[in-house]
């Protein structure tokens, strides 16, 4: 009896673990399907996509759609705008946030708690709650459709969380290291630059990628303040590309190729910082 019990005990977990495994694979397929479908459609010619039965594997596919998308020229103009805006945002955010993180993690000063509180609250403000006012402000300052204007809005939107993220890294480096260097005769600034700064590199990279992703993907503010055709950022261009082809018969192959072009760099960068970003959002609630 004991042997038969042991056998059933061993077999049931096996069957159920197979079931759970199958379920997990099914869910994985479900979640990855839109991404797969984007790549699949991007490789297929429009004739195939217009048939009433979908083609699930891109046999005989080609890169024609990608060629067509990039040939239109508007893609590169949008790419230029996005690259400029994103670079300005990343550089400014990193330097501002670096100083800010230093202030709140290495100094105890009056108003520190209030500042942290304000940072976390501001970071949660929805863009839709302010964008009409920001639009007016930009219009009054003649900064509509300008790279500078939208960069200022992006820096303000991204810098709070960047400070919060970097602060975690700065706190993680013991002050004792700096103090030891100061005992050895370095000034506080020297100690910081030579000892702490190099150790912060991973934090700066993670925060930089975070700022990059935010600025690169942003849609809402851009929609409001970048209204002219020549000042479109990549997300706005993609939306416009889909709309312009929607008036005729939508060329989904090209739209998906365009989406792929926009997504691939983002996915690569995202995979680099994913862990850091989510642990920043849930704070000390998840350790390790």
């Amino acid at each position: 009896m004991s042997t038969s019990m042991r056998i059933t005990q061993r077999r049931t977990p096996k069957i159920s673990s197979l079931m759970w495994g199958a379920l997990a694979l099914f869910v994985a397929a479900l979640w990855a399907f839109p991404v797969y479908w984007m790549l699949n459609s991007a490789l297929l010619p429009n004739v195939t996509l217009q048939s009433s039965t979908p083609t699930f594997i891109p046999f005989g596919g080609s890169l024609d759609n990608f060629v067509a998308v990039t040939a239109s020229g508007t893609f590169f103009s949008a790419l230029g705008v996005s690259l400029t805006v994103t670079s300005i945002t990343v550089v400014c955010c990193l330097s501002f946030a670096f100083l800010g993180a230093l202030a709140i993690s290495r100094f105890r000063f009056r108003g520190r708690k209030g500042f942290i509180l304000a940072l976390l609250l501001v970071q949660m403000l929805p863009a839709e709650g302010l964008f009409i006012a920001q639009y007016r402000m930009m219009a009054n300052a003649n900064l509509l459709n300008s790279v500078l204007g939208i960069s200022i809005l992006y820096i303000a939107a991204v810098v709070p969380f960047t400070i919060w993220m970097l602060r975690g890294f700065v706190t993680g480096i013991p002050v004792e290291l700096e103090e030891a260097a100061m005992v050895d005769g370095l000034t506080r600034t020297q100690a910081f630059l030579r000892i702490t700064f190099p150790l912060l590199a991973p934090g700066l990279v993670a925060s930089g990628v975070y700022a990059f992703l935010q600025a690169w993907n942003e849609f809402t503010i851009a929609l409001v303040v970048m209204t002219s055709d020549t000042s479109k950022t990549v997300p706005l261009w993609l939306r416009g590309f889909m709309q312009s082809s929607a008036t005729r018969e939508t060329d989904w192959g090209q739209v998906m190729a365009a989406s792929t072009l926009v997504s691939v760099p983002v996915i690569i960068f995202f995979l680099l910082v994913q862990g850091r970003m989510s642990s920043g959002l849930v704070g000390g609630a998840v350790k390790g």
Binding site: S17, W20, G21, L25, V27, A28, A29, W31, P34, V35, W37, S41, Q50, S51, P54, S95, A97, L99, L102, R106, F107, F115, L120, L121, M124, L125, P126, A127, E128, G129, L130, I132, A133, R136, M137, I152, A156, V159, I163, N217, F219, L238, R239, M242, A246, T250, V255, M256, S259, V262, S263, V266, L271, Q274, L281, V282, G283, G284, V286, G288
Partner: protein, 319 residues
């Protein structure tokens, strides 16, 4: 002897002594100086518009004012007008319902997937995690174009699959009626937000000690009992923070709704708070009213955010 020894050091010491009050003052102002750039950009890009918005929400500021007529102070008239406008209430009710349905579905599926990750073999877990990461990493606008294509009424995969399954969905236009419009929007928003919940909760599981779970198992607790009475209470801080974030994020689903509306549905029937403000501000040019709705939305989000921030600070002090 001590006197002799300290003597040579006295000179640098006293030199530092004369410098120290100056140094101390510099140290005191240092954090404020470090904060100047961040505070300046926040004041310029958020503080100023916020103040303008508060003032404008108390003014009549429509198309006439945009063409140069000075705005008229009307007190709380915009707000009372909103209060007695049934359409505003419809939009608010829709937004809250949409937010709660999406946040609820996201939490339930996210927790279920986190449990599933714990259950399955490492190889399968990696496959599942990679799939979730792909969905999470997709840029919003690109993801929206793909979903619009997936639900395209002429030849979408979704309609094809449903038709093959025996239901007649040939040529069915999901985005035409408000209800199915919201179903599609909710599916998309949930698809986008589940990975974050699943990963955060899964990370939370790693804090639950195996010994406690084993002890409970030896005492005869079933898997469900262990989950409800040990695991869930132990990861409550994570669950609370993740839920609050979902509520905040699902209240502001602008881009998703806007892009679905673009494809061809009646905006007035499908507006949520974000798109309503957008329509008031850019479409009708009624800055007074759109400011009032914006303020309402900000207050609503801040109320929920406040709970989140309080938790974050508590968790932060605990570490």
């Amino acid at each position: 002897m001590t006197a002799v020894q300290t003597q040579p050091e006295a000179t640098p010491d006293s030199a530092q002594g004369t410098r120290s009050p100056h140094r101390a003052r510099r140290r005191l102002s240092a954090p404020y100086i470090l904060l100047i750039p961040s505070v300046a950009v926040l004041v310029a890009a958020m503080g100023y518009p916020l103040i303008w918005q508060v003032i404008t929400s108390l003014q009549e500021f429509g198309l006439a004012q945009q063409f140069g007529q000075p705005p008229k102070f009307v007190g709380l008239q915009n707000y009372t007008q909103l209060l007695f406008d049934s359409y505003t209430w419809a939009v608010v009710a829709r937004s809250l319902t949409f937010c709660l349905v999406c946040a609820g579905a996201t939490m339930a599926i996210g927790i279920a997937l986190a449990l599933l990750m714990k259950r399955v073999h490492k190889l399968i877990r990696n496959i599942l995690q990679t799939a979730l990461l792909l969905a999470w990493a997709m840029p919003l606008v690109a993801a929206m174009t793909v979903w619009i294509w997936l639900f395209d009424w002429r030849r979408s995969v979704v309609n094809w699959v449903l038709t093959e399954a025996g239901l007649n969905f040939q040529g069915y236009n999901w985005l035409a009626a408000p209800l199915t419009f919201y179903v599609v929007a909710a599916i998309i928003v949930t698809w986008m937000s589940v990975p974050f919940v699943a990963f955060s909760v899964y990370a939370g599981f790693s804090q639950v000690s195996e010994e406690v779970l084993e002890a409970a198992q030896m005492d005869g607790a079933t898997g469900l009992q262990r989950l409800l009475h040990i695991t869930i209470p132990m990861i409550r801080p994570v669950l609370a923070i993740v839920l609050l974030l979902q509520v905040i994020w699902d209240l502001r689903v602008f881009a998703q709704i806007k892009m679905l509306q673009d494809v061809g549905s009646v905006p007035s029937e499908t507006n949520l708070l974000g798109t309503y403000i957008y329509q008031l501000g850019t479409g009708s040019g009624d800055f007074g009213m759109s400011s009032a709705v914006s303020i309402f939305m900000l207050v609503l989000t801040l109320a929920v955010s406040w709970l989140y921030v309080r938790r974050m600070i508590r968790e932060d002090e605990a570490t």
